[in-house]
Symmetry: C2
């Protein structure tokens, strides 16, 4: 282009970018514009970004969010919020491969992204990869001991609200199928369960808490032990555990919700609304986590003194909780699939 | 940088890129290298790409693949194959929003990507967005009437193999819960079902095919009609239909697989292996589709004369199919979760 117009590269750049106050002769400007015409020139983002020293990208380095069925809405929320502010979300899903992670970060830094979101498909503590903090960065659905802002789900309030859905229907003897995996979800949901019981003046009984493999097989296997406890309601660590529990109690001739009220956690797309009966649960706010990550990155939202912004896990009532008291039957939410 | 080194931008570029044969004085080269040192300069991919006129990106424009729980493995396969050849996969998930799609394509074209994959979360015909064909492009999990190579799943052979899993166990009266949604999956799986019957000299009976809403609710609702048909085996359009069918037949006192053998389609991650019994199914080869898309883009794989490369849908036998004949019981695959 510069050659075709017989001007310097920087003159081309100034014309293309309509640089205000740039001293460019009419003749040079005309030659550039003519060359643009002749060459069928497409505005070159590389040239524009090179001049401005930054790009319109926000990077998202994820472990497996784009490729598992669990947390894709993090990407959805982040990309919507990025677009809203004129940025394109560049996603590098690394499957936890350290080489891929390093290369993706290097590429993003070289391309002078506005900032980087580092995110995981389940809520956990992470070691920050080298290079991450060379850009503005925000952790999403994870956190670290380093001084980097983190946006995380409010597991504790989620566990509290799940348990409260059962308490409000008169249940007092409430089991909790927690996970065997040590995690913020394990600890937070348990703390929430205990707080909800305490608020209702129900003594915490550790015998009512069973840690299970956090999937359908874990829920199914726990059924005999759970039924021996004589609970009238159960809070499950996630919707997959509840799905396995449904199969087990059905085989035992126990009906949900008439004989046993069930609450899950996650509001997982292909499961929760499609069980019989549809599952009352608490939503992991993946979309909102992605959104908040971009907002914190751009300085539109702020983290607390502890470096964290917690995002609420809203209750989603459906048909799997009914009252113990005669006449009190939980109604499914209007939008729930039956 | 150029300012700090008191040389022209193009001299900086030549030094950074070790341009062979470039006539740069020792003094200018030294000044640039010193400035690099002083400024803590990170090799600027923008500058390098600007000089070479192309980038190390392959673009993936997707409708909702990253954000639904269904087809994320397309991204996984594409990114693995892209990395293997030194490219970074840049994902723009547009949720079918035309503005977002146009902007993502424009951004990719401006950044001179090596090529663009255009992909959808379910197999369908698409209208190509403006601008797509300005770059090398390949359609993945979709196709168009335009002359653009497409990589698609082999629905027909998938339907054939699913039906054959039942025929091989002695079933002759086999129902098919197909989808009410007109689609390549509807037509291809039906053609495969018919071909498998024909090969086994079983007359096709249109009464045994029921089109249902392609989810759990559709499978559940079809149970009374299906049971009236007196079939011993059923092929379901997808795993979600099979999951709803399981609930319905259980309520009717019909056992899977003893009374009714069931085969699904998709091998959906959170469902198929976790049903009771685990579901025999046919896998949608999402990972392989993404991989093949990159390979076709890079000229490593070729499409046929019809512009298509079809990818096989491999059977995944588990516990939901048992033989009609005494003593013939299907074994679950060794890796299947029970």
């Amino acid at each position: 282009m510069a050659e075709a117009a017989k001007v310097s590269i920087s003159t081309v750049s100034l014309v293309i970018n309509n640089k205000v106050g740039a001293r460019i002769g009419d003749d040079a400007r005309r030659r550039v514009q003519q060359a643009i015409e002749e060459l069928g020139y497409r505005p070159n983002a590389l040239a524009k970004d090179l001049v401005s020293g930054r790009s319109r990208f926000i990077g998202l380095v994820a472990d497996a969010i784009a490729t598992t069925p669990f947390a894709g809405q993090i990407i959805h929320g982040a990309q919507d919020e990025a677009w809203r502010h004129g940025f394109v979300l560049l996603v590098a899903n690394t499957e936890g491969n350290e080489d891929a992670e390093r290369e993706a970060l290097a590429m993003m830094l070289e391309h002078k992204v506005r900032g980087i979101l580092y995110s995981t498909w389940y809520h956990r503590q992470v070691d920050l990869p080298t290079g991450l903090t060379e850009a503005d960065c925000v952790l999403v659905n994870c956190f670290s001991t380093a001084d980097v802002p983190a946006v995380v789900p409010d597991e504790e309030t989620g566990g509290h609200d799940a348990t409260t859905m059962l308490i409000e229907q008169g249940h007092r003897r409430i089991g909790f199928l927690n996970t065997t995996t040590p995690s913020p979800a394990h600890d937070g949901r348990l703390a929430g369960y205990r707080r909800a019981l305490a608020e209702a003046a129900i003594d915490f009984d550790p015998d009512l808490v069973i840690d299970v493999q956090p999937d359908q097989e874990g829920g199914y296997a726990a059924v005999p032990a759970l039924l021996r406890l004589g609970v009238s309601g159960v809070f499950c660590h996630n919707d997959r555990v509840a799905m396995g529990l449904y199969d087990g109690v059905r085989e035992a001739g126990v009906a949900v919700p008439a004989d046993l009220a069930v609450v899950g956690f996650d509001n997982q797309e292909v499961i929760a609304a499609h069980l019989r009966p549809p599952l009352s649960t608490v939503a992991l706010p993946h979309y909102e986590l992605g959104q908040a990550g971009v907002r914190v990155l751009l300085g539109l939202d702020e983290v607390g003194d502890d470096g964290r912004l917690t995002v609420a896990c809203p209750p989603v009532p459906r048909g799997s909780v009914a009252g113990l008291r005669p006449g009190v039957i939980a109604e499914p939410s209007p939008g729930a699939a039956r």
